[in-house]
């Protein structure tokens, strides 16, 4: 508890990251896939003398430039702010481990953004070959950003045994390469590249569908078919990459997927399966709509079709990213740091010496006695990363009508049960001294009482 706690009522901090990510990811992946689409289409147009494609590509590149360099870049920085506020410990670990990786990524970002601007503003102003070279420069630099960030993202699920062996020693950066090229690096990279390519096709369909068929004529139809070819094969390849990724994740994460087939009883566990179903359904729909409408009958392809495909692609991307986050539970960095920022190797210390004793935000008095203030600090530090008091994963609902004794025994279960216990499959172990746990129970009871009082008031009002 080295950092202040960012209390986001009702939705919780995690959803702030999630909401920005849902907006950012379809754009950032388009920034990479679209970067490949533009020079490839331009190359084809020049090679086969389809010069009527060029004005269309120019229009698409304007949309591309505005969307990726304004909305994509701003929301990307937004994610940075959000993760630093919601998960400061984990962000600190990532920075300490991957600072040079990130520095290199930012170099590529600068090249990428510059190249995108030059590419758009030099249409018809520089020789074709040079213009195309700028496009390729953009494509390569944008892929390089993915190559780097993918190492950091996949590290969070599977940080590698080599890195875990030095975790907490201060020498973590010495294991940069094993941590970077971890067991899920390659399947994750391939999967993301396929997503980028599919999104490039879908976004191109959005631009093309807004062009008047009578005005753009045959070129529009041909380009719609060309864009469809970027989408359809991906939906054949993606399940293969997904299966590869699935086989690479730790077995505990795979079990989450199987559990949800049978039941919805175990709460968030089964979300992974449910989210998996959404991905399956939405991607299959996109493939069908793109094949039957864009590829088979390009003249009939409308903006409504393109917008539906895009909406479904956003849902599919958001669902997959959510599942990726969910299978990491109870960790934020697999096997090392729990989702509430506690390090696995510090659990015994916290239980022995107290959790609040390590906090910069608790006074010595609060650490030693059972009181509400200490309970609030315990809640914020250990529960607040995933739970809110009365909104998303509401504690009022989860505690329900339990009395003080029942709450305390539940908390002891969360503290003492074996790491293989049901709760620990998705929740970090609770830590703290006896007094600290009692303080937390006191605070949770007060939340539960507030909830009951509200319900009673409603009943009273309802009966009047």
């Amino acid at each position: 508890m080295n950092y202040p706690f960012w209390d986001v009522p009702v939705v919780g901090g995690a959803w702030i990251i999630g909401l920005i990510a849902i907006f950012h990811i379809p754009i950032s992946h388009f920034a990479i896939g679209g970067g490949l689409f533009l020079p490839m289409a331009e190359h084809l147009a020049l090679k086969e003398g389809r010069r009527d494609w060029l004005p269309i590509l120019r229009r698409h590149s304007k949309f591309f430039l505005v969307l990726t360099s304004v909305f994509g870049a701003v929301s990307g920085v937004g994610i940075w702010f959000a993760i630093a506020l919601v998960q400061p410990e984990a962000t600190s670990t990532l920075i300490h481990n991957f600072v040079f990786g990130w520095a290199i990524e930012w170099c590529f970002f600068i090249i990428e953004l510059s190249a995108a601007a030059v590419y758009y503003y030099t249409w018809d102003r520089i020789p074709d070959k040079l213009h195309l070279a700028v496009g390729w420069l953009y494509a390569v630099s944008s892929i390089c950003t993915l190559v780097i960030i993918n190492g950091i993202l996949s590290f969070m699920l599977t940080p590698s045994d080599a890195w875990l062996s030095v975790a907490g020693t201060g020498n973590e950066a010495s294991m940069f390469w094993p941590a970077f090229f971890n067991q899920t690096y390659w399947p994750s990279l391939v999967l993301r590249i396929l997503v980028c390519i599919a999104l490039a096709g879908i976004w191109a369909l959005v631009t093309l569908s807004r062009m008047n068929p009578d005005f753009a004529g045959n070129a529009r139809d041909k380009m719609i078919q060309y864009s469809a070819k970027w989408v359809i094969p991906m939906f054949v390849l993606m399940p293969v990459a997904m299966a590869w990724y699935f086989m690479s994740v730790p077995s505990a994460s795979r079990e989450l997927m199987q559990l949800g087939m049978t039941t919805i009883g175990s709460g968030m566990f089964t979300q992974v399966t449910r989210i998996g179903l959404i991905t399956l359904m939405t991607t299959a729909t996109i493939a069908l709509v793109v094949y039957f409408f864009a590829y088979r009958t390009p003249r009939e392809f409308t903006f409504a079709h393109a917008a539906s495909c895009l909406a479904l692609a956003v849902v599919a991307t958001a669902a997959t990213e959510y599942a990726r986050e969910a299978i990491r539970k109870p960790y934020v960095i697999g096997g090392h740091m729990y989702s509430n920022g506690l390090r696995r190797n510090e659990i015994a210390k916290f239980n022995e010496k107290g959790y609040l004793a390590q906090s910069m935000w608790a006074s010595t008095q609060e650490m030693k006695r059972v009181d509400m203030r200490a309970g609030i600090l315990m809640f914020r530090g250990q529960c607040g990363a995933c739970h809110t008091t009365n909104g998303y994963r509401s504690m009022v609902k989860l505690i329900a009508a339990r009395d003080m004794k029942a709450i305390e025994s539940l908390l002891r279960e969360l503290q003492k049960s074996k790491p293989t216990g049901t709760y620990h499959k998705y929740m970090p172990p609770l830590v703290g001294t006896r007094e600290e746990i009692s303080s937390l129970a006191l605070y949770l009871k007060s939340l539960s009482d507030e909830g009951s009082a509200r319900t009673e008031a409603k009943e009273l009002l309802g009966s009047q």
Partner: protein, 356 residues
């Protein structure tokens, strides 16, 4: 592929069907979007049929009803998904039918010669609502038990025959296992037996008279009116709508799977804020309001009288809005439609606000 087609064509006359379908046209104008809602309703109904049959494999009416739904939800592979898809598609079905009905009303598609299409559609909506009501009790959990108890107050309020009908539905004075048995028979045998032929009739009416054009479009010279072929254009778009609907059902079922509460216990007090499903909320709230204004039996009579009058006026609209042009009567019918829509929306929101 061509050989297979030829083989089937020789025996089933596929070319004739294709020719017939390609001659059929659908009016193309700024309200064409509303034409898809009938198809969406049909698709939701088909999803219910399929998922309903799958649920039948494991569901056991009577005293084991709750336990069997518990097994479906928590033990059987993807049982929760089938149950959730069934429930969500039922809700979407009714929503789509409501949208379809109001779009038909405002586009004046009930006018001659389409009166029977209008009436059969209304009857299908009525049956759909009874489908929803009878299905809601089947899990026999706390919520469905008490909501059914409250819901049976509506037929109970019908003067003279109401209590008798409510007793027949309940199978006694209280909601219990006999009620589940009766509702099950109603839900899986009687209602489909009535619904399916009526649906066929409704579709035949649409086929017979074609899709109607709103008066504003009809007023245009024939040369200015646009159409699209039913096959393949409209059908392809309709199928795309079905796909979108399937996605919506899958999204809702996956993100908000239908939960199962504790088993119904008649000795327990009803949980706070118990209310009927959203499609009965308007009637429920209206009865409550009228009951508060005019207490006692008279209030019930007035409440039910208002309903009956509203329904009769709604169903009889083809009789008093007969002009082919948008005259005074047509405007009055539109105002009546807007009034009915406002009443339903306001009383539904009011009903929810009162129980929240």
């Amino acid at each position: 592929m061509a050989k297979v087609y030829d083989y089937l064509n020789d025996r089933l006359a596929l070319d004739e069907i294709k020719l017939f379908a390609s001659k059929k046209t659908v009016p193309l104008h700024r309200h064409t979007f509303w034409y898809y809602w009938g198809g969406i309703s049909l698709f939701c109904f088909m999803v219910q049929l399929i998922t309903g049959v799958l649920l039948l494999v494991y569901y056991r009416p009577g005293p084991e009803a709750y336990e069997s739904v518990r097994q479906i939800t928590y033990n059987i592979h993807f049982g929760w998904l089938i149950r959730s898809a069934h429930n969500w598609s039922a809700n979407l079905f009714l929503l789509a039918v409501f949208v379809h009905m109001f779009s038909v009303f405002f586009m004046k598609a009930y006018r001659a010669p389409r009166e029977f299409g209008w009436w059969s559609g209304l009857a299908l909506l009525g049956l759909g609502m009874i489908f929803g009501f009878s299905g809601y009790l089947l899990p026999m959990d706390e919520l469905s038990y008490f909501a059914t108890k409250v819901g049976l107050e509506i037929p109970n309020a019908v003067p003279v025959i109401g209590p008798v009908v409510a007793n027949i539905l309940r199978g006694g004075l209280e909601v219990g296992e006999h009620t589940v048995q009766r509702f099950f028979a109603l839900h899986t045998v009687i209602l489909p037996f009535l619904f399916l032929p009526l649906l066929m009739f409704h579709l035949w009416m649409v086929q017979k008279h074609g899709i109607s054009t709103p008066p504003a479009e009809e007023a245009k010279p024939k040369a200015e009116r646009k159409t699209m072929p039913f096959f393949p254009n409209f059908l392809a778009k309709d199928l795309a709508m079905w796909l979108i609907t399937l996605n919506v059902i899958a999204l809702l079922a996956s993100l908000f799977p239908w939960q199962l509460g504790p088993a119904a216990d008649p000795l327990k007090p009803a949980p706070a804020g118990i209310h009927p499903e959203w499609y009965f909320m308007s009637q429920f709230q209206t009865l409550k309001v009228v009951g508060n204004l005019i207490p006692g039996y008279l209030g019930e009579m007035v409440g039910m009288g208002l309903f009956t009058l509203g329904l009769v006026l709604w169903a009889a609209v083809p009789f008093y809005d007969t002009d082919s042009k948008n005259g005074k009567r047509a405007r009055n019918a539109t105002y009546f439609g807007l009034f009915a829509l406002s009443v339903i929306v306001i009383t539904t929101i009011w009903g929810y606000a009162a129980v929240m």
